[in-house]
Symmetry: C2
Subunit: 590 residues, 2 copies
């Protein structure tokens, strides 16, 4: 039942780091060979040759070799759409070409020249029935690693180490369904991948477990959308979650289902046909009541913008001293291509213009707490009316309607400004002489001196956070990981507020004593409108005999602002603005 | 010859910290009683009363008492004008009211309730003749402290400790003339001050020493203007000098003669009547050749702007590792009220408009080296054409024609941007597709990673510095000083580039373990156009038993950028962008 001749004839889909296809100047040094240098066919042939020369095991463990080979990931229209429009992902279209599915994640679709795997008895003979719970309990090497696809259950324990994208990526799906990951990384949607997977089948899911569970209707969060299982949940109700670091920088543009989610309240379920946006008119102007179609009649404007929560990296701050807030790690930041009407166009139509006196544009969401209080925030009118600031009333995210978790049908996008002002499920816009009176504008999202505590804080004494300071973090390797001796690859992201481009990222392997500049990549951006992050990578030799590395990164923006060295001096009671150097300690394989 | 009855009847002019007169919200806690609370007359009367009660010595040593009294410094039109217009200072007029002369420096004009001073034999009986050299050698307590005024020589050794502005201020004039300081601080220009001074007279200057020495004409710097003696000179040729810290924050607006001077070449001596500014016209537009009068026909625009040299605080960076550059301490930063034509108005008249492609406005100075190479720099066209950026072709500095050292007759002022782009003695303006080709744009004034040295530097790899990062420094107390136990007053400045307001300054007395927010003061500024610094002050109890204080400051700007903790990680081979926390160690009096 396990004939050698059943080995797949499609041999390899090595996974690539994600590179935007329209990147003008990719630094060639230190990056893997790119897809453009090899056709799918020649890569396959070359690998076949290599494999025959080098022998079985060596070939199938090529993962860390410097000259990785690859096939071009196929663009498909396959979607992961378990419920509603919110998690829809299409592999490629005109507005999402920036994130090619080449950055494939769960490389089950990949595989494997001449590897020695123990073939499994196909379950069709006497199909074993497993519950969802049983599958879920198989999520660690000690228990074995199981996954499901459709109604089938697979034991992929022995495949984990062979996964071309790395074991950690496959482990994200351990104990659960593959579909959410395959939907993101369409490279898996190929016959040979299914063929490979079939060899690991051990049985079937219990029929009751193959349909989504019914909703609890008494719970205000019961109608929240289904989320991607790769997200690391910091709070279930309201839902707050971040992508794991190793996925965060796999793509320059974050796939919608992996975009960090920061909700303050239950997610409203709005009907796009009856949705209306109320824009209060200026004195002498006219108030507007805009349907989604009305909004689409304004000139459509597209812009790539990184959003970051003020609480990103709070977990590091709370290690200094307790703070109030969700324990975000490095993932409360993501990047999307947003499209919508420019706020300035809508405001002008309502008769607003720049005033001598300072004024504010106040936004109200359609999400609300049991008392009916809606989420609210504001930005200065000067920013809202400046066409160069590109503030959007966005109805598209990466070429799709906004997912429900990200504000369907309309949210504000304020490039260069803290996430808290990008009000989702937007219901009302008005121009006021003062900032929004909302709790989140006045009594939250502000920074204070480390000496200020909850007994002494005066929220009126600090300005509300608008532009954020320069930031960077390491996403690979992960803390505690063991890296190969010889050479280490360090990856991460860097971003600064206010449209200030990141001009350099310094990386240290010795805790900050010596530094090397990393290679930056990402979309080209307009001067002074660098709204989106830069991804970065450093390949550096590991000093001989080194048993550990203390990796640190710090970024510099175009105003030459830098990140502070340590967290304690920027500690604040809300744990916001945590942008000190990021540290990762790893061991070096002997 | 020293009758008790000759004691001056004008008793006291206590010196104040400088407070802009139009400050809206002066924090009252921790600041001395202000002039507005006492008239000159009532202060005098009150002091008389106090003095009689408390006895002679106590009264005359009131300097550090918390309830300092004061008279309002008189506004005068007295000028210190030894040569040319460059050092002219008028005490007050409409455009300079921000820097009241209340912040008087050399309080010789002050004096002294019932003190026991030894009267000196007036020199009129047998006038002793001293050379300038002899006077200059008397500049330390060990040698005695001499000063001159006109042709007269005074031994003020015993007055130094009685000086109401503090001994350190008087010591700035030790061994030299008083005129430059009295010109700045017009409070001295009163009969009773002259009367007091006369009592210290010991003789006359040699007639040859009372006229300025003749110029060395073979030296390209021979025609440089005379500078204020309080300036700390980092380089004589070209002239580069900074005000001492204790003067730097005495006034919110820096008096012209104390404004830091950063020259790259000899100072041109330009005739305002024949001066012409050449503005290259756009294709289809017209080139302009503007006289000073032509420039004055454009709408006059005034703005308060802080200028900072990229090398400010370089001396701290060079302590980490050698750098190339002048050893600026904390004084390569100053603030003035500039007036002139807006660059955008002039450019528009020459037919320029914002282009899709990135373009640059290139400036050329009329200063040049022996090969004829002029100083040059550029800024992005988008900034130049933005009325909100308030870029000026300035012909006035604090209500006066520009001093020669600061660009007479016309310089560029680029709010929020590094000093190097504020080209002085402006000769030519053009719009180019690329940055200025000048050495100072392309091969200087750029930041690099600490790993980059002169063997590996690639100047093309870093952007030219435009906006500067957030900065702050302590100006009082000075390093090594002994402060009183009980309470310490810490003063300093804080500023950030790009119009980002400083929103907080944290001060630590224990090297950065704990922090207190300082009181900020200074001119109110427009949102997003905070072009000028904030001065700050903290009065804090000295912990009992403390023998030393390790004072540290760090500022936060409105984008919540902060200063880095330490210098080494921002070290760069040119020693620019030195903005780590500033440290001052002092002893505490037992």
């Amino acid at each position: 039942m396990c004939p050698e001749s059943s080995w797949p004839t499609f041999l390899i889909v090595f996974l690539l780091p994600p590179i935007p296809s329209d990147l003008p100047n990719i630094p060639s040094r230190g990056l893997p060979v790119f897809i453009s240098e090899f056709s799918c066919r020649s890569a396959t042939m070359l690998l076949l040759h290599r494999a025959m020369v080098s022998g079985l095991r060596q070939a199938c463990r090529l993962r860390s070799a410097p000259s990785r080979l690859c096939t071009q990931a196929c663009s498909t229209n396959d979607s992961f759409q378990p419920q509603g429009p919110s998690l829809t992902v299409s592999g490629e279209n005109s507005s999402t070409k920036g994130w090619r599915v080449t950055g494939a994640l769960l490389g089950l679709g990949a595989v494997l020249a001449y590897h020695h795997h123990r073939c499994r008895q196909a379950a069709q003979e006497s199909p074993h029935i497993y519950s969802k719970e049983e599958v879920r309990s198989h999520c660690r090497p000690e228990t074995g690693i199981w996954v499901t696809f459709g109604s089938e259950v697979f034991d992929v324990t022995e495949f984990v180490d062979l996964h071309p994208g790395g074991p950690s990526k496959l482990m994200l799906a351990a104990g659960g369904p593959l579909e959410p990951f395959w939907a993101l990384y369409a490279v898996h949607n190929q016959p040979h991948v299914r063929e490979l997977l079939a060899q690991y089948k051990i049985g079937e899911l219990h029929p009751e477990d193959t349909t989504p569970s019914t909703l609890e209707t008494s719970n205000p969060y019961a109608d929240d959308p289904v989320r991607h299982p790769a997200l690391k949940v910091n709070s279930q109700r309201p839902f707050n979650a971040e992508p794991p670091p190793e996925l965060l920088t796999e793509n320059y543009i974050t796939p919608n289902p992996l975009f960090f989610t920061r909700n303050h309240l239950p997610v409203p379920n709005l009907d796009p046909d009856t949705y209306r946006l109320h824009v209060v008119g200026a004195p002498g102007g006219q108030s507007l009541c805009l349907s989604l179609d009305d909004l689409r009649k304004f000139p459509k404007h597209e812009v790539t913008v990184t959003l970051q929560c003020a609480g990103n990296r709070r977990s590091e701050m709370s290690q200094v001293k307790e703070v109030k807030g969700l324990e975000w790690r490095t993932g409360a930041i993501s990047t999307a291509r947003w499209a919508g009407a420019r706020l300035c166009d809508v405001l002008v139509q309502a008769g607003h213009q720049l005033s001598e006196a300072e004024a504010h544009v106040c936004f109200e969401g359609l999400d609300s707490d049991p008392t009916g209080t809606a989420y609210g925030a504001s930005i200065p009118l000067a920013r809202a009316l400046d066409p160069a600031a590109e503030v959007l009333l966005a109805y598209e995210m990466n070429g799709e309607p906004l997912p429900r978790d990200h504000g369907f049908p309309v949210r504000v996008v304020v490039p260069g400004v803290v996430g808290a002002r990008h009000v989702k499920w937007l219901g009302r816009v008005s121009v006021e002489p003062e900032e929004s009176g909302s709790h989140w504008q006045r009594r939250d999202y502000k920074g204070f001196s480390p000496s200020v505590d909850w007994d002494t804080v005066d929220f009126d004494s600090a300005p509300s956070i608008q532009e954020l300071p320069v930031q960077s973090a390491i996403t690979e390797p992960r803390a505690g990981e063991t890296v190969e001796s010889g050479e280490v690859t360090v990856k991460g992201y860097a971003w600064s507020g206010g449209g200030r481009a990141v001009i350099r990222v310094d990386v240290s392997l010795d805790g900050g004593l010596t530094w090397q500049a990393a290679e930056l990549y990402g979309e080209e951006q307009c001067p002074r409108k660098a709204w989106a992050w830069r991804l970065w990578q450093l390949q550096a030799p590991v000093p001989a005999g080194q048993k550990e590395l203390h990796i640190v990164c710090k970024a510099v923006d175009e105003s030459y602002n830098v990140q502070p060295d340590t967290v304690a001096p920027i500690w604040n009671l809300r744990g916001v603005l945590s942008n000190a150097w990021h540290h990762v300690h790893v061991r070096v394989a002997p």
